[in-house]
Assembly symmetry: C2
DNA sequence: AGAGTGTCAATTGTCGACAATCGGCATTTT
DNA sequence: AAAATGCCGATTGTCGACAATTGACACTCT
């Protein structure tokens, strides 16, 4: 028994949804761009039905919008929407931290230490996409340590939106080394399991990111 | 100009999604129940395609689950999942309150007063569904007063899940009058725009609800 | 020229059909 | 009789087709 591992029956719809998500997050599909069903279905080598279903999944996640009789479009991000997203993230992640301080196992803490190491590792060599990815992975671990699966789902949705938004503005971390360092206060508070200190560290850390992103978006909007 | 109001082009998929959601929330569709595409499509008088798309929307919202080659099923709720949901709601709503204290307009406060009145109004005469609905409406207004649209979206999703869960256990408010009264501390803090007091009032209020719901779910699970 | 109208290609909305697969029941085997 | 196998109806996965609608362009009329 149990010699074989389960075979993945990833259905078409899920695969397509994943690919479209990836294309949006990496900027290959730009906000406002139309998702023509026929064209996509040809690229995927399928009919339109699975494409439509995948698009519905993404619609519900807010990654694409839908207008009846007009079709699906890549979701656009305004500065104020990005502010809302980051602001919500503050509430979410502070709550995650509050819970994590009580519930995090030593293994959780160790994993976070390791992830922080990876953050430093990205400095100077990894692509900007990798840096962003590892950054989000760190914060996701905090949510994970909260032990609240529902919370993680919301975080993942927010993270997808943030990644899509950040990709738009291109640069965000002028100094990867410094980016890693700004996580130290968070890690410190976690090591000490000091809830108040963790909340403050997170609040500051995310607020800085929020201000940077929102400022860049406002720049972008002024230019456009 | 502007003599006519826009005509609603609610597309089939949205209508179907709404009806299925309603059926789940009201308990006409029970957790674990299979959503047979052909049967649903016949009831809606459509083909299977729109039904599948609607189901995908709900899947992404977590209201239904999907197994490849097996189909869509009404999502089940465990006691621990309900705890996660309420726990997340605490984080979310406290953050909403924190923001609302600063941003709520006088009109927002007035609307909340009015809604509190409606809560009292449901006591003794309205159906339990109405009581639940008005209760959630009150809390939704707090989220609305936060001015964060993204936050409201998450709240709405959680509210749908909570309503579906509560419907399962049937009773929840033994005393509607008392239910309304427990909102007074929240309203008080809002009137004074006292952030800390509001947070404490909300935390207590929701924690009580959480404990009640989780206890009933554990009862349910023990029985089954 | 400019506003309004007609026309048409492109695209979406929905459908019915067919193959693939699943779960349960009957049947066989030991 | 219990377990394994084979079979069959029910259901899903995907497709191609056709009608309806849209947006853009060309055209007309003043």
């Amino acid at each position: 028994m149990s010699v074989f591992s389960e075979v993945s029956t990833t259905d078409l719809v899920t695969q397509i949804a994943r690919q479209i998500t990836e294309a949006i997050v990496t900027g290959h599909l730009k906000p406002g761009e139309r998702l023509t069903e026929l064209q996509l279905s040809r690229e995927f080598g399928t009919s339109r039905a699975p494409v439509r279903e995948a698009a519905r999944l993404l619609e519900s996640q807010g990654l694409v919008t839908f207008s009846p009789r007009r079709g699906f479009f890549v979701r656009t991000f305004s500065a104020s929407e990005m502010r809302d997203i980051y602001e919500l993230r503050i509430g979410l992640e502070l709550h995650a931290g509050y819970l994590a301080v009580e519930r995090a196992t030593d293994a959780d803490i160790a994993a976070l230490e390791k992830q922080l190491g990876r953050l430093y590792g990205t400095a100077g060599q990894a692509s900007i996409e990798t840096q962003i990815f590892e950054d989000f992975a760190f914060h996701r671990m905090i949510c994970k340590a909260s032990g609240n699966a529902r919370l993680i789902r919301v975080y993942d949705e927010l993270a997808t939106e943030m990644r899509a938004g950040i990709t738009l503005i291109g640069k965000i971390y002028d100094d990867p080394q410094r980016m890693a360092e700004t996580h130290e206060p968070i890690m410190d508070a976690l090591r000490k399991r000091d809830g108040d200190e963790l909340r403050e560290a997170l609040r500051y850390h995310i607020a800085v990111a929020r201000d940077a992103v929102v400022a860049l978006f406002e720049e972008l909007e002024k230019g456009a």
